[in-house]
Amino acid sequence: MVVRQGAVEAVGMIARDDASGRSARCHAVRRRIIGLSHAFRSAHLGSSLSVVEILDAVLSASDISPSTASARTRDRLVFSKGHAAMACYATFEAHGLLDPSLLERYLQDDSDLWGHVTVNDKVPAIDASTGSLGHGLGLAAGYALGYRLRGWPGRVFCILSDGECDEGTTWEAALFAGHHKLSPLTAIIDCNKIQSIGATRDVLDLEPFADKWQAFRWRVTRVDGHDLDALDRAIADRGDERPHVVIADTVKGKGIARIENTVASHYHPAKPEDLLS
């Protein structure tokens, strides 16, 4: 396959953590995602664009960094919506956790990174292989229980899609974590309200969503999932002994007006006119 010129520009590490720096970083990540989708004909564009600020907020709140990436007791991030791999890779790249060269031949034959997030020796910050939905929260619960048993102070983050809350295993894990008061665990749900082939409210309505988590003995915060300040505050709030879920309301396809809030954004790659400046 021919790699289109100009589409594989790396983000490069953007280490500025002030508000404008982070906003610029999210813009660069979004630009990178669109470039990757366009260059390599990748699907899952809409799901990737909705989760950019969530990913940045979690990495910013965590101790995951280039120097700690291989450390056993660092914070963990289970990226359960593994289909939004472009967002994960681009955000990791912007945080210095992924070598930009790994994305030069994204999805090409004999390359390193799969289309669903996969554990990789070259990217030690990736904590879990995902892609089949409904596994992430259980893995994170396992990590959180393990951290408690070990006496390690680290936090365990899990980023889920709203669609994967159709999966029974998500609720099995929620029940376990709530019952066992797995306070190291913070789940952030990218609530973009569109699942694979339909609107969540039409396929299997999750509302009242916050009430469900509360009923499972979780502390719930609901925020605008594109508002970095709101995400930061929610994620920083350790609250009480319960696990914490942040329901982050987002826009599927955020940043490309023509695809925002569309089912098709799950499938169609970016077009040349979508490339951000």
């Binding site: 259980g138 619960a141 396992g142 951290y147 295993t169 029940l175």
Partner: protein
């Protein structure tokens, strides 16, 4: 067999602080002493086996060695994808313990039988499957696999098994051995079927037929070399308490195709059908054609040149 199993796990947990025990809310009257002795390392994950398996993957990633215990179909078929994605793919060191292998739970019905478990897990990379036929063999397999880096499925029958003698120590490559000598025909079996083969061999000996019984307590990867050495050129009946097409049959067919010496061979296993009539384990073994009588019938066919 379950009490022996719990004693082995208890001893392992006492010597290794990384050992965890997870149960899908089962084990009444056998798990309580372990629960009392290991405290927070005993985790009842509730009636939620799929999540239990995934959590075991997370716990193994923290350096723990979880035993994941429940009835065989619930620790295999119920959570196949969790084993595939969260244990085998990331190479997590986890011990799946399925009690009630094969037809152990006889009259409880097909939901509790486990006839496909070994076959489906044998399709997975980084998985090793042990299938002991008596308590001594359970101990032997447990000891052999204690440091094993792959995921292990321990397929444990409910019955204690007959008291055949097993070696003091084996390696995975050697895990097949003679448990009864014989010169006319070889029975190759795993798990509870070893006991059926021994019963069949005893009955045949009264009729003047000398049957050797070879136990293969490691189903996967199949220990090709010792089995080939042991069967030599004898006619072979292989027997497994599971559906046809399982790892024992596959191992035998591969062995005979590549290293066979023209051995005649029949495999005795459960055809792809569900039992129609309720009954005990013994009743079902007979009804499904995997009991000692069925093994004798297969041996007769081979020895009479009809097989």
């Amino acid at each position: 067999m379950r009490n022996k199993l719990m004693a082995l796990i208890g001893a392992h947990a006492a010597s290794d602080p990384d050992v965890l025990f997870m149960t899908g809310d089962l084990g009444f009257s056998v798990v309580e002493p372990l629960q009392a002795s290991i405290g927070p390392r005993f985790i009842n994950a509730g009636v939620a086996e799929a999540n239990m398996m995934t959590m075991a993957g997370g716990l193994a990633a923290c350096g723990f060695l979880p035993y994941v215990y429940t009835i065989a179909p619930f620790v295999t078929a119920r959570c196949y994808e969790q084993i595939r994605n969260d244990i085998c793919y990331p190479r997590r060191r986890v011990r799946l313990v399925g009690v009630g292998a094969g037809l152990s739970y006889g009259s409880l019905g097909a939901s509790h039988h486990s006839l496909e478990d070994a076959a489906i897990l044998a399709t997975l990379p980084n998985m090793i499957i042990a299938s002991p036929g008596n308590e001594a063999e359970l101990g032997l397999m447990h000891e052999m696999l204690i440091a094993e880096e792959r995921a292990v499925y321990l397929r444990v029958p409910r019955e204690n098994g007959t008291a055949y003698v097993v070696p003091e120590r084996v390696t995975p490559g050697e895990a097949a051995y003679e448990v009864r000598a014989g010169s006319d025909i070889a029975f190759v079996a795993s798990g509870p079927s070893v006991n059926e083969c021994l019963a069949a061999a005893m009955e045949l000996s009264e009729a003047g037929v000398s049957a050797r019984v070879i136990s293969v307590p490691l189903l996967h990867p199949f220990p090709m070399v010792p089995v080939a050495d042991l069967v030599g050129s004898q006619p072979v009946v292989s027997v497994f308490e599971g559906y046809v097409g399982g790892p024992l049959e596959l191992g035998m067919l591969r062995l005979l195709a590549t290293n066979g010496r023209g051995n005649r061979h029949l495999h005795v296993a459960v055809n792809l059908a569900y039992p129609e009539r309720c009954g005990s384990t013994e009743f079902l073994r007979a009804a499904l054609g995997i009991d000692a009588k069925s093994i004798i019938a297969a041996a007769r066919r081979l020895l009479d040149g009809r097989g």
